[in-house]
Symmetry: C2
Subunit: 387 residues, 2 copies
């Protein structure tokens, strides 16, 4: 185990009928609330009404910033920052999935400075202060509700960049699994894939070879993500299954899995971000298209690691390390297929000819994230494994 600092101050309110606490929780930090949300589905399912009533009853003045889209755009973040400044907002409340929460985090950071917020993403400026953030989560996927990371797409430069800062932890996040019961099958599956991907990134790229405590935690989370997703797809209104998937996704990227692993990479996300930036594919769909190819590319270099994954997650106990490794990857790929998430970039209608362009784009993010072990040749090789 490597040295680490673990400090996750986010307060989680989890369970039925918790959304009505959002007003009280938000007003602990400010009164002029910027309410950030997405395409308006929360107006259809009643969540918007519940949140605004709770905020209003607590005494909030609300400025609205709706219309956040999946793979949230820098230009829309900039509009939100100006709104927050113009209305002297002193707290931000995000109601949505990872995209909405990430955009809200970017507004939290950008609202306290005069320079363009993108400079944080390119590493030209560092965050010194933020507005406080509360959230109501509507999708089990990104983990953003209990971590300090955010991802934004600069549509001018076709760059989907992300980073983390300790000032970006939400103060309070409300997780009511019932809210997610209306999420359709495809996005439920993509969310589960995202949670699995967060675990796999750390599991297979960690610097420290021997981390048994974190291993068991990560293996358990992958099993739970798959099992709960299967149950949800079978019975979309199964509250308990929704709850298991939701808490699993939160724990999959709240800092605990990575604590002690030493340096970790996000290579699958790094490549996927280019797919989202160019083709606007759902993040989870892009990930499942990359994961099997990426794993097969690396399995030969770490057969013991991939074999342990196969053994512990899929109960594959027979054969050599290499055989078990391959069988484990096949099993994961079969699960992606079973939940109708694509397992190749071809399935996303991305032509082979685009690979050099994708690799070039991904490389810019690899440089920002300091993943020196990836050059364009290696990224192309991985992508060729994903056809």
């Amino acid at each position: 185990m490597q040295n680490f600092v673990f400090h996750n101050p986010t307060k989680i309110l989890f369970g039925k009928n918790t959304v009505s606490s959002i007003g009280e929780e938000t007003l602990l930090f400010g009164k002029n609330v910027l309410l950030v949300y997405g395409s308006g589905s929360i107006k259809k399912n009643g969540l918007y009404k519940e949140v605004t009533q709770s905020l209003g009853a607590a005494g909030a003045t609300i400025t609205e910033h709706g219309g956040v889209q999946s793979n949230p755009l820098l230009s829309h973040v900039q509009v939100g920052i100006q709104l927050a400044k113009d209305n002297k907002c002193d707290v931000i409340c995000a109601v949505g999935g990872g995209s909405v929460i990430d955009e809200a985090k970017a507004i939290c950071a950008g609202a306290t400075v005069q320079h363009d917020v993108w400079k944080f993403f390119t590493g030209k400026k560092s965050i010194k202060s933020t507005l406080p953030l509360t959230t109501v989560l509507t999708l089990a996927a990104s983990g953003s509700e209990m971590n300090s990371g955010m991802v934004i797409t600069n549509e001018t430069t076709s760059q989907k960049f992300g980073f983390a800062n300790k000032l970006l932890f939400p103060k309070t996040s409300i997780l009511d699994p019932a809210v997610t019961c209306s999420v359709p099958a495809d996005y439920t599956a993509y969310g589960a894939v995202d949670a699995v991907a967060h675990v796999l990134e750390f599991y297979f790229t960690k610097e420290d070879p021997y981390t048994p405590v974190q291993d068991r935690l990560m293996e358990g989370l992958v099993i739970n993500a798959m099992e709960s997703c299967n149950r949800v797809l079978n019975t979309p209104n199964d509250y308990q299954a929704r709850a298991d998937l939701m808490w699993t996704a939160t724990l999959a990227l709240n800092g605990l899995t990575g604590a002690g692993l030493g340096k970790v990479g996000f290579p699958m996300h790094m490549i996927e971000h280019s797919l989202s930036a160019f083709y606007n594919v759902p993040h989870g769909a892009g990930l499942s298209a990359i994961i099997p190819g990426w794993m097969r590319y690396h399995a030969a270099t770490k057969p013991q690691r991939f074999s342990q994954f196969a053994d512990r997650v899929f109960d594959i106990r027979k054969g050599s390390s290499s055989e078990k490794a391959e069988e484990g990857i096949n099993a994961l790929e079969s699960w992606f297929k079973a939940i109708s998430s694509p397992t190749t970039i071809s399935a996303l209608n991305i032509p082979k000819e685009d690979i050099p362009k994708i690799a070039e784009n991904a490389l810019t993010l690899a440089k920002v994230w300091r993943m020196q072990d990836y050059d364009s040749e290696k990224i192309e090789a991985v992508l060729n494994n994903c056809l």
Copy 2:
């Protein structure tokens, strides 16, 4: 999964050479430091010098309160509270294991009120404010370094009582596994037993029957506690094994395992506390003397649960649920024996005739903890199973 609030604000600094940060971390919260420690072993191994130098260099004024004993006593807590008041201490720094940290927590709570601190333990008063606390952990066991609980023994009434309050989370805890390398074999083993017991209490008493996310987490922690303890006993200076045991013990009782389980009990601790109160046995030794008997008493009522434990933790896959359950308990008992931790109260030289007296004492704690499902008859029956 049941509704829950999870909010653990403790900052963990984990790893080699982290102790030297204690001055800087403590001075974030105050300048007049009450330094709480135990029998003086930290003066022999150099830790006392390192901590006081770090505090001094950061500008602290130090008041010392040493001599905390295992199963810390109320009278000693009261001395510490008076010291803190007389010296106008505004922060407390605990250097030790769970006993030292628990006593420091009691001082944190008692130093801000005029009434006797024991009233918090009997539920006659509730905590409204505390002094801030930082810790340097020296024993992998109690989890107190990252939770809001504390246990103190009132020697006048022979009551070992404990409770939790959200104001009792340490602000910062420093966990350097190298510090624990000098812990002797017996206390290393008792610490691992304590960590296992914390998991088992929740695992077998939880209100909600279906908690797959928490189950995998808990099962992994039990496996890690056993494996890392075995490695440590084999090679006491194995830093990595010490690190795994230390982080496992912290995660075993930091609120995460219990979040979502609904109501849980601490029946094995409830009974063990009476053993410690009467016979001053090490807490972990008392626990391993109770656990197999307690488990056998309950296995018949929850064969599926005990069978899952056997399967997931000990890879026992053959036989009926009852057979697997019994085999799992036997396997755990064998592990206790292998690490030389007692598996019966007879091994602690506690005579059968004392059982009614022990049960009567335990019942007073059962009432404070509101464990209505335990009367003296049931406690005696469990204890008779532990002979």
